[in-house]
């Protein structure tokens, strides 16, 4: 049985998640492996705006400006996860960024070398489908 959410419900759900990232210094972190309970190895860390996201519209929140990581930790393995977390490293979102069988299909993969600069020019989050 499918479930349909109203726009108000979708906005409420998205806001409930991204509001956890309202504090200064929230982070977008690219990782290799891990879970939300046991996060994987950090590849790059980007500092988000304060608050990290604007209010949800049509169920989607758009992030403010995100600072680059100008000296990424890097890893020989492709990035397979991304997390959005507070400055105190409390994770709000953990996202699969793996190969075709996973939630994100990365053609050629995203491999970051040590010292590379990683930036993010746009980021949106939607908690619930319509």
């Amino acid at each position: 049985m499918s479930v349909t959410h109203s726009t108000a419900s979708r906005n409420a759900a998205t806001n409930a998640v991204v509001d956890q990232l309202d504090g200064a210094g929230s982070k977008l972190v690219f990782r290799v492996g891990g879970t939300i309970g046991s996060p994987g190895t950090v590849v790059a860390t980007l500092i988000m705006a304060t608050p990290a996201f604007g209010a949800s519209s049509s169920g989607t929140a758009t992030a403010g400006a995100i600072a680059s990581d100008t000296n990424a930790a890097g890893n020989a393995s492709p990035v397979s996860k991304a997390s959005l977390q507070t400055s105190g490293d409390v994770l709000a979102i953990y996202c699969d960024v793996a190969a075709s069988a996973s939630d994100i299909n990365m053609t050629n993969g995203l491999t970051v070398a040590s010292g590379d600069t990683v930036s993010c020019s746009s980021l949106t989050y939607t908690a619930l489908p319509a």
Partner: protein, 82 residues
């Protein structure tokens, strides 16, 4: 009692990597979904009453639709080290 499950949240990002070795900038377009455990956590927030689903409207922009997943890479520019 049946378990309530559904799709997780959706994240979309445009990521740029400037290679330290070459100065080249590569652009990646990410589209994916948050993990099942994240979705379960959201549902638990709803069940526990900590996430209130009500008439909340805000005015920020942003749109996203569609399921599935893809990522493309392109090299957008060369950056001189000189």
């Amino acid at each position: 009692m049946s378990e309530i499950k559904g799709p997780g949240g959706e994240l979309r990002a445009t990521v740029h990597v400037q290679r330290k070795a070459t100065g080249k900038v590569e652009t990646y377009y990410l589209l994916g979904h948050t993990t099942p455990e994240e979705h379960a956590r959201i549902l638990e927030e709803i069940r526990a009453g900590r996430l209130r689903l009500g008439p909340v409207e805000h005015g920020a922009s942003g749109s996203l639709s569609g399921a599935g997943a893809e990522m493309n890479r392109e090299e957008t520019e060369d950056v001189s080290n000189s």
